[in-house]
Amino acid sequence: MGLDIRIPVGMMFSIMGAILFIYGLTSDPRIYETSLGINVNLWWGLALLVFGLVMLVLGRRKAA
């Protein structure tokens, strides 16, 4: 099949991760009372971003 699924998966999670990360940097810290004081947007956004990029790299490497 001509489309490697890792490319769209990687793209989507990179974008979502980046959005959450930026939102984590800019949002009012008080909203993190719900998440036990942890800025989950920042940290989990970063994790998703890394996951997305790894997927992209894996997908690209095979295509090349």
Binding site: M1, G2, L3, I5, P8, V9, M11, M12, F13, I15, M16, I19, L20, Y23, G24, S27, I31, Y32, T34, S35, L36, I38, V40, N41, W44, G45, A47, L48, F51
Partner: protein, 571 residues
């Protein structure tokens, strides 16, 4: 339960998800040239993708919401659905059954029945399966619309039509491949959306130790021994010692052997994903690959339920709401957890994951429906010998019709909830004996078409009779059973116990009757006809020269070993 206010960032994440789902369908549309591309992905899917889709097609609403609800209601014993039920069944289908499904070149499970037995057995299975998929996808839609209405205040019709339209578009465009690719996307979304939920929840209750401590108080309060919620086997000695009301034999035979093998080994919804794999070896590895993440799903879906239960009884932050009749609304376990722990941002991710689970459940049903309808009903009984382009067109039209019918079902569910319960009950009767038919079909060449058909029919009737003659404790006669007699023959400690035993009786009757009737009816298929369909008449699949752990049997052993370890850890 207060409704949640979504911020713009949450909506943004949801919209990004929709955009990607649709783009995948769009990107795949040019590969859909033949009906085989549309219904079987041209048998070109690599094993790991087919494996994740195999898992994800089953990750519908009932799975995620329902398993969390059971986690709250019954505790870690819910893991039996995975570690005793699904995992061994997935290993079995991969190692023993896939050679026949894939090797026979049947395009669907009903078609296998036609090749192995006869026309009537196929028709019985195809028609009941097609009806069932429509209702399942309708119920999935209904559950989604109800939940999003309750949580976000979305209009019921809006939720239904938006989710249906998106699923419709991506399947019509990209067929099964599109559904499979999106299932992979949905799989990652569900996993990555729920990990932080479990992390925060566990942290809040003080880790596994804190959870055990709080749940032991819940157990004692409900009249059980302290470990009833946090150990999976220790309290299965008698049905009165655990909240499930099930003893080990009913659990292992009913849930493990009959129901789980019946579902994972014969349900075309999941088997279709393996049939789309690019080689026999990939098809056999598909369920095995799926089994690895499946094994870990209890931690994602059962734990949140247990956490919310522990908190509800110890004045924690997450509290289960009450239903109008004053009992706890267990189905709200996941939504309550999301609302309690996720701030704006992550909340969008969590809700998108939930949306993805509903949509993958719906899409799985729709793709299975359009294949069975087109190949097993339309091509077999309505129009034989049409051109391939014609069947591809029928497949697309069927997708539209199937989704419209599901929408109709979803609206029906709002008006007549009892009809849905009733239908699910009928499907349970039809499904319970199926595994006996396949087992005999694949491993006993003497089994005949008449034998299989009457076995299935009698097994289904046995299920109905058993249900009509028994009742769970404290239930009134009607949809819960006992509708055949004024004085029921037996009262089970719980509905679950009754279900497991209904399945055991149905399976046994089907198994015995198929053998008896096969022996008194003539065998119409010769050994030559059955080559590739029956174990003893099929050449063993040639194992490519690979390390033992990469071969299906070795891989399967590893999976079973890991499942056994998990059972022991949570014993």
């Amino acid at each position: 339960m207060t409704s949640i206010q979504l911020g713009s960032v949450d909506y943004l994440l949801l919209i990004i998800y929709f955009v990607f789902v649709l783009s995948i369908g769009w990107a795949l549309r040019r590969y859909m040239k033949t009906s085989s591309d549309f219904f079987l992905s041209g048998r070109s899917i690599p094993a790991w993708i087919a494996g994740l889709a195999f898992l994800s097609a089953n990750l519908g609403a009932q799975e995620v919401i329902g398993m969390a609800a059971s986690g709250a209601k019954y505790g870690i014993a819910t893991s039996h659905f995975y570690w005793v039920g699904a995992i061994p069944a997935m290993v079995f289908v991969g190692i023993f059954m896939m050679p026949f499904y894939y090797g026979s070149r049947a395009r669907s499970v009903p078609e296998y029945l036609k090749l192995r037995f006869d026309e009537k057995t196929r028709a019985f299975n195809a028609i009941s399966f097609a009806t069932m998929t429509i209702f399942s996808s309708g119920i999935s839609m209904y559950a989604l619309a109800k939940l999003f209405g309750l949580l976000l205040g979305w209009d019921f019709s809006f939720s239904i039509w938006v989710s249906a339209l998106i699923v419709l578009l991506y399947i019509v465009l990209g067929g099964l491949t599109s559904a499979i690719y999106n299932e992979v996307l949905q799989f990652f979304l569900i996993v990555l959306g729920f990990i932080p939920l479990v992390f925060l929840g566990l942290r809040d209750v003080g880790g596994w130790a804190g959870l055990t401590d709080r749940l032991s108080r819940v157990s004692v309060q409900q009249g059980f021994e302290p470990g009833a919620w946090t150990s999976s086997w220790s309290h299965l000695g008698s049905s009165s010692a655990n909240p499930m009301g099930v003893e080990w034999f009913g659990m292992v035979m009913g849930l493990g052997f009959v129901l789980s093998f019946g579902y994972w080994c014969t349900d075309f919804l999941v088997v279709q994903r393996a049939m789309a794999a690019d080689s026999m070896s990939a098809a056999r590895r598909t369920p095995l690959i799926a089994a690895v993440p499946k094994m870990l799903f209890p931690f994602l879906v059962i734990l949140p339920g247990m956490i919310v239960m522990a908190q509800t009884f110890s004045d924690g932050r997450a509290q289960l709401p009450l239903k109008p009749d004053g009992t706890l609304d267990f189905d709200m376990a996941i939504p309550v957890m999301l609302a309690t722990y996720f701030p704006s941002g992550l909340l969008g991710l969590g809700l998108t994951a939930l949306m993805a689970s509903f949509m993958s459940g719906m899409a799985g049903n729709v793709t299975a429906f359009n294949t069975v309808w087109t190949y097993d009903i339309y091509q077999s009984y309505i129009k034989k010998g049409g051109s391939d382009a014609h069947y591809l067109w029928v497949g697309r039209v069927t997708t539209v019709i199937g989704i419209l019918l599901s929408i109709g079902t979803a609206y029906l569910a709002t008006r007549f909830n009892n009809i849905m319960d009733f239908l699910q009950l009928v499907f349970a009767f039809v499904n319970a004996p199926l595994f006996a038919t396949f087992l005999l079909g694949m491993f006993w060449r003497r089994a005949t078409g008449h034998g299989a058909f009457s076995g299935l029919l009698l097994g289904t009737l046995a299920a109905a009779f058993h249900h009509g003659l028994t009742l769970p404790q404290n239930a009134v006669a009607g949809i819960k059973g006992g509708w055949l007699v004024t004085e029921v023959l037996h009262r089970y400690p719980s509905e679950m116990a009754q279900n497991f035993w209904t399945a055991i009786y149905a399976w046994t009757v089907c198994f015995v009757m198929t053998i008896v009737i096969s022996l008194v009816t003539p065998r119409l298929k010769s050994d030559k006809d059955l080559a590739g369909l029956v174990y003893s008449l099929t050449p063993k699949p040639v194992e490519e020269e690979k390390a033992w752990y990469r071969r299906p049997a070795g891989f399967g052993l590893i999976v079973l070993g890991l499942a056994a370890i998990l059972n022991i850890i949570f014993w």
